[in-house]
Symmetry: C2
Subunit: 285 residues, 2 copies
């Protein structure tokens, strides 16, 4: 496995893979790899070719007062995980390599970024889209892999790639839960034992929403009300939003159609968590 810290270096490495006739796969991450990231790497490996994982805690997607400084950066453990998973190239640039100057260019997706997390994290998705565009330009992959855990990010990145004709296939991979039902997240490391137990109420509320929808509930407001009620009743959980929306357009669904995203953000202690249930191919209910 090659660990590369420069843009020129990773381009050379990818060019070598291309010269060998290999397709190139990119798994963009902020490191602190967990089972969700591993599932992305495995999906990339299953598609064949040269698998590149980027580890970069992108400062431009953190707002003032957010957790940029304390975001976990267990680099040695991340590299070990990449080795274990058969990753070919790790791109691990310092911030000055990615942003040598004060960046002036922003990629903005309107419409999909105003609600949900976007309403509470102004500028976050501009930072995400811009760094994803940079990584796609640097690595030039055939496909890039994103988790459905970050459902709004996935919708926004897909829309950006479509609108800008980015020649990379955006591949979505299912949300991964730990054995206790908590959605995997690098931020779970912030939780105390008590907080982690309290946080389980989020996944349980969403599981109940899934059961109700699968049983035929099609009233979006009723589903949102159900989840809100569960979260309001849960000790230690302070819900930020509950959204019942189309997973592609993120438009609110009064009436649930063939596909739905039920998305939640909530604070547990000092930690902000997100979780969701995404259902496609639903019948009439």
């Amino acid at each position: 496995m090659d660990v590369v810290e420069t843009i020129a270096g990773v381009r050379r490495r990818v060019a070598r893979a291309r010269a060998e006739g290999l397709a190139v796969r990119l798994v963009p991450t902020m490191g602190a790899l967990h089972a969700g990231h591993v599932s992305l790497v495995r999906a990339a490996r299953a598609d064949g070719g040269c698998v590149v994982v980027s580890l970069f805690v992108n400062p431009t997607q953190f707002g003032p007062g957010e957790d940029l400084a304390r975001y976990p950066r267990p680099v040695e453990a991340d590299l070990a995980a990449c080795r274990r998973e058969g990753v070919d190239v790790v791109f691990h640039p310092p911030a000055a390599e990615m942003y040598p100057d004060e960046p002036r260019t922003t990629v903005h997706v309107s419409g999909l970024t105003e609600g949900l997390c976007g309403a509470h994290r102004p500028g976050h998705f501009d930072g995400v889209c811009t760094v994803v565009a940079k990584l796609l330009h640097i690595v030039g992959p055939d496909a890039a892999y994103f988790g459905e855990k970050d459902a709004q990010q996935l919708a926004v990145v897909r829309r950006m790639a479509d609108d800008l004709n980015v020649p990379t296939r955006i591949v979505a991979c299912p949300l991964v839960r730990d054995a206790d039902g908590l959605a995997t997240s690098s931020r779970n490391a912030y939780l105390s034992g008590t907080e982690r137990r309290q946080a389980l109420a989020i996944g349980q509320a969403l599981a109940e929403a899934r059961r109700r929808i699968e049983a035929g509930e099609r009233d979006g407001r009723a589903v949102a009300g159900l989840v809100e009620g569960r979260l309001d009743a849960a000790e230690g959980v302070r819900p930020e939003y509950v959204a019942v929306v189309d997973p592609d357009t993120l438009a609110p669904l009064g009436r649930i159609g063939p596909q739905v995203l039920v998305a939640v953000a909530a604070h547990v202690g000092e930690t902000r968590l997100i979780d969701n249930v995404m259902l496609r191919g639903l019948g009439q209910g």
Copy 2:
């Protein structure tokens, strides 16, 4: 010469050139080709490989009340010019091919777009950057060729390409003047004979600015004042702005250093014209 109207078609054509080991050159234009465009094509051809010219009047870079509807579209003459110049591929998409949905994604460059033309054409450079990003993603060229005539556009596109790590070299080509000294522009076609004679004052004022700077003038405000005075005195010319700025950052220059851009926009009749003088490698004066 292949004329291609679809994104998939031009990608296939470019992939064929790549498979033959050719480099790919893109000359993005809005058509109505003139000697300035021809100079870009010749620069691209001189660099070797497969030369792609795009002809696309991009609606998103026109503001309300601007000349989108009447912008000249002499497609047959443009194709003939491309054939004459040995172009390999013309990409001539309909608007619905470039914008199948209401576009939501915008590429914005801050700092370089607020002044000069940006102050008078809100949203123009967002439209330019976004369509250039799309064209670069569609064609995937090794190099793309832009005229120094559109000096602010060049600076903005360069900055975008740098900030986003676009893997395409941005090549600048000198402004081209007609025999009477008027800077070549597709919009010159709007001018009556009288207006064209009146418009020559713009290039003459800039030529005088160039002489003064080459003779050692380093006071940016004095140069701006000289050009403003000439334009104010010129019959039929209504100056919009005169800027003496750094050609890369577009920051105003009180004191002219090693490089300078003197840029003008002015209305002659109903037609808005831009022109400039760009000087690099200047001594101390």
